[in-house]
Symmetry: C2
Subunit: 215 residues, 2 copies
DNA sequence: TCAAAAGTGTTGTGTGTACACCCATGT
DNA sequence: ACATGGGTGTACACACAACACTTTTGA
C-alpha cells in the first residue's frame, strides 16, 4: 500500500514550525503525526501531496518537493505501508489550519518543541529538516517561507534560524543584493520601537539554483 | 504495487555507461529497460535494491542511494505501479553481468547511445544522470566508479565525461591533492606508448560531503 | 624521431570574512 | 533619555582560473 506524508514547514515568531495532526484513528490513536493520506487511483504522487496540502492548510503551493520514500516493512503495525514523503514550505499567515478527516486536531509546533510522534515520523521529520538545511545553501527555496513583503532583518532571521548560527549583517546584505533578485518597495515597516525598516519583495517568485548560496 | 528500479552506472573505455536489460515478459517484450523487480515481504526498499543489484551484476555495493519515486498512474499499462528508483555506481571490471529472471539479455550501454526504453524509463534515466552530474560537484561519490588503483589522468577523464567539459590539468590536480584523500602508490602504469603515470588509491573509501568540490 | 600523455608554478581576479559606528523610531 | 534593531564600507585572506613547457615512454 502506498501513502504520502507531507512535512509542512512555516516560519513564524522567529522560529521554524512544522504542522502536526493528532491521530483519531488507530493505530497510535491520540498521538501527533505528520499529515498524510492515501493516494487516489488516477492520481500521481505529487497530485496527492498537493491535495493533502490543500486539505490541511487551505493554501496552494509555496514550495513542494518529494523528500524520500520510506518502506521499512515494520514501519506500520498494520502491515507494509510505503510512504512517499514530501516537504512543503508555506509563508506564515496564509493558511487556515483545519483538522483533516483522520485528525482530531492540527497545529504548528516549533521544531525544537515537538511532541513524540507516531510511526517512524520522527525519522521522517529529521530527514526533512536536514534536507531543508542543506537546500537553502544552494537554492532560494527558503524564500517560500516569507510573506510578500519583508525586511532584511526578517530574511536574515530566517537563515539564522534554519542554520542555527549567526550571520554577519553587512555580508549577508551584500550577498543578497548581489544576487539581484530583490526589489526595494516604497514602503517601510513602522510601528516598532526602533528605526523603520525598508520592505523588500522578490522580483519574481522563481526557483533559482546557485553554485553556492551562503556558506 | 511497489517495485524498485536501479540505474547502474559504470565508467569504462572513457565513457559513462548504464546497465539495461532486455524484457522477456510483457509488457514491452523485447524492449530495453532499467533493471528492477518486486520488493519482497519483510524486505526494505534499500534491501530490495541491494538484492537486485547483486542479482544483476554480482557486486555488493560501490555506491547506492534512493533516487526518486515515480508514481504516475499511467506509467505502467498494467495498472498503477509505483517504482522507487535507486541509483548505483560500480567500478568497471568488477561485475559479471548476467540476465536476471525477467530479462533475455543484459548489457552496459554508453549513455550517449541508449536504445529506446520501456515504460517511463527514459525519464528515470535522465533524472539519474542529472543527479549524478549534480552530486559529483559536492561529494566524492564519483570515486565509486574507479578501480582500486588509478591514474590522475583517469580520474580527470571521469570528471570531464560526467560534466561534459574540459578541465585544467594543473588546477584539477591541485584541488585533488588539497583534499588529502589520495595516497600515491609505489607503482606506475606502464605499457602504454607514453610516459608512465603514477598510480593512486583512496586513503579510505569513505563518503565525503564538501562545501564545494569542483566548479 | 615522433606521438602521446605525464608532470609541474606563478599570477591575477573575485569572493568570503572580519569588523564598528551612527540613525530613526517608540516608549 | 534610552533601548532596539536599521543601515552602511573597507581591508585581508583565500580559492579559483588562466596559462606553456619539459619529461618519459613505446612504436
Amino acid at each position: 500500500m502506498v501513502v504520502i506524508d507531507i512535512i509542512i514547514f512555516t516560519f513564524e515568531d522567529d522560529v521554524l514550525k512544522v504542522l502536526l495532526v493528532k491521530r483519531k484513528a488507530p493505530p497510535f490513536i491520540g498521538k501527533w503525526a505528520i499529515p498524510g493520506g492515501f493516494v487516489r487511483k488516477q492520481e500521481s504522487l505529487m497530485r496527492a501531496a498537493e491535495r493533502e496540502l490543500r486539505e490541511e492548510t487551505g493554501v496552494r503551493a509555496g514550495y513542494l518537493e518529494q523528500l524520500y520514500t520510506f518502506g521499512d516493512p515494520k514501519r506500520d503495525p498494520r502491515g507494509r505501508v510505503v510512504t512517499a514523503a514530501y516537504f512543503a514550505l508555506i509563508p506564515r499567515g496564509k493558511m487556515k489550519v483545519r483538522g483533516a478527516s483522520d485528525a482530531a486536531d492540527a497545529r504548528f509546533f516549533p521544531v525544537r518543541k515537538l511532541p513524540s510522534l507516531a510511526f517512524d515520523h520522527k525519522k521522517i521529520f529529521l530527514y526533512a529538516r536536514t534536507r531543508l538545511q542543506n537546500k537553502i545553501q544552494y537554492t532560494n527555496i527558503a524564500w517560500s517561507l516569507l510573506p510578500r513583503a519583508f525586511t532584511l532583518g526578517e530574511i536574515q532571521d530566517l537563515y539564522e534560524t534554519i542554520w542555527g548560527r549567526r550571520l554577519d549583517k553587512r555580508n549577508f546584505r551584500k550577498k543578497l543584493f548581489s544576487l539581484g533578485l530583490l526589489k526595494a518597495l516604497p514602503k517601510m515597516r513602522r510601528g516598532l520601537r526602533q528605526r523603520p525598516a525598508r520592505l523588500y519583495a522578490f522580483k519574481k517568485k522563481t526557483y533559482v539554483e546557485l553554485k553556492r548560496f551562503f556558506s
